[in-house]
């Protein structure tokens, strides 16, 4: 019978690569789900404090981020160790916050411009003086909805 003809000696059958696309797709999907888009790299230390009474920031397109904290190691020689504000990819002074908010607001679609939230991502070791100045700036441009972004956890851990 033809079915049982002898194969040539030493000829290994090829490993089936039919499932390779599956594996690749699996990896692709995995990375698609776990990656969060980061639109700016952090120039400041950003260990957020803990809080329990938190609310989720649901709609990402309605949020403007402001980062505050001590500059990271590589920037400390230039910018010192005092907490600084980071807007987009740059360090900024307090008086630039207002115009930044206005610029960001102008970029958003008309119908979202009134419902924007400002997320303050502030390092737990920052002082309130800087935050108060930022808050004052936000009030001046009428960006009154703020969210102090925190981690979920016992708030009393902050005090240590």
């Amino acid at each position: 019978m033809a079915k049982f003809t002898k194969k040539k000696d030493g000829d290994l059958p090829a490993v089936s690569t039919a499932s390779l696309p599956d594996i690749v797709f699996m990896l692709l999907f995995f990375f698609m789900t776990v990656t969060t888009m980061k639109d700016s790299s952090l120039l400041v230390e950003n260990t957020l404090p803990n809080a329990t009474e938190i609310k989720k920031l649901e709609k990402k397109d309605r949020v403007i981020y402001i980062y505050v904290g001590k500059p990271t190691q590589e920037y400390q020689s230039v910018f010192g160790t005092e907490p600084r504000i980071q807007l987009n990819d740059k360090f900024a002074n307090v008086d630039e916050v207002g115009s930044y908010i206005l610029a960001e607001r102008a970029k958003k679609p008309q119908e979202l411009q009134n419902v924007l939230t400002t997320a303050l991502k502030v390092d737990k070791n920052a002082n309130m003086g800087l935050i108060t100045d930022i808050k004052q700036q936000l009030r001046e441009v009428n960006a009154l909805k703020v969210n102090y972004t925190t981690y979920e956890g016992d708030a009393f851990n902050n005090l240590q």
């Binding site: 049982f4 002898k6 194969k7 000696d9 030493g10 059958p13 490993v15 089936s16 039919a18 499932s19 599956d22 594996i23 797709f25 699996m26 999907f29 995995f30 789900t33 776990v34 969060t36 404090p49 809080a51 329990t52 009474e53 938190i54 609310k55 989720k56 920031l57 649901e58 709609k59 949020v63 939230t117 997320a119 502030v122 390092d123 737990k124 070791n125 920052a126 002082n127 309130m128 003086g129 935050i131 108060t132 808050k135 936000l138 009030r139 001046e140 009428n142 960006a143 009154l144 909805k145 703020v146 969210n147 102090y148 972004t149 925190t150 979920e152 708030a155 009393f156 902050n158 005090l159």
Partner: protein, 201 residues
């Protein structure tokens, strides 16, 4: 049966199944990180046109100094006791108009929850982490009271109802239903947390 020469071919038909199994496993276990935090409203920059007169007993003052110590109603207080003190102040109900409050009706404390205001002041050198802890405790006091009333009226927590209401994935019908309930509880204990300008000394 004649012995085969060469290695037999591995059946790769089930490979796809294994791949999908893993894919589904990761899909289920990974959560996409969403930011969360304390929502607050800042006061508008223009002062209100008519001056509202607020009686001193309706204001619960909380001062944080630069060392992170608390001065509550002119007395030094431990942070751990703040939530309880704020809760007691909010539902004190001195004028007896709030029938769901369980306060002590102390004449020297707030009239009713709609009049009670918490005023938070901080020093410029207060650490942000301390400030957040205090904010958390004060918001917690409101949430505790609202949860209690929501449990009594609707048998579920207010915070849970609110997050379901705010979640864009909740069906519209459920949201409309929740809207009135959330509003009702919020009006029972309106959040009046004022953040005055920081003292400089």
């Amino acid at each position: 049966m004649p012995r085969r020469k060469g290695a037999p071919e591995v059946n790769a038909g089930s490979m796809a199944d294994i791949a999908f199994l893993l894919l589904i496993f990761f899909l289920v276990t990974t959560t996409i990180e969403t930011d969360a935090g304390l929502d607050r409203m800042l006061p508008p920059i223009e002062p209100p046109e008519t001056d509202v007169i607020i009686r001193q007993k309706n204001i619960f003052t909380v001062n944080i100094n630069k060392n992170g110590q608390l001065l509550v109603e002119d007395e030094l207080m431990n942070l751990k006791d703040l939530r309880k003190a704020a809760t007691a102040f909010l539902e004190n109900n001195a004028d007896g108009s709030c029938n769901y409050c369980k306060g002590r009706k102390d004449a020297a404390s707030s009239d009713n929850p709609t009049k009670a205001i918490i005023s938070l002041k901080n020093d410029r050198e207060t650490k942000y982490s301390t400030y957040i802890t205090v904010q958390n405790e004060l918001v917690g006091a409101y949430n505790d009271l609202r949860n209690r009333e929501a449990q009594r009226l609707y048998n579920r927590d207010f915070t849970e109802m609110e997050s379901e209401y705010l979640n864009p994935e909740t069906p519209t019908a459920t949201r409309d239903d929740l809207k009135d309930k959330v509003k009702r509880i919020q009006d029972m204990f309106p959040q009046k947390l004022s953040e005055a300008e920081t003292s400089t000394n």
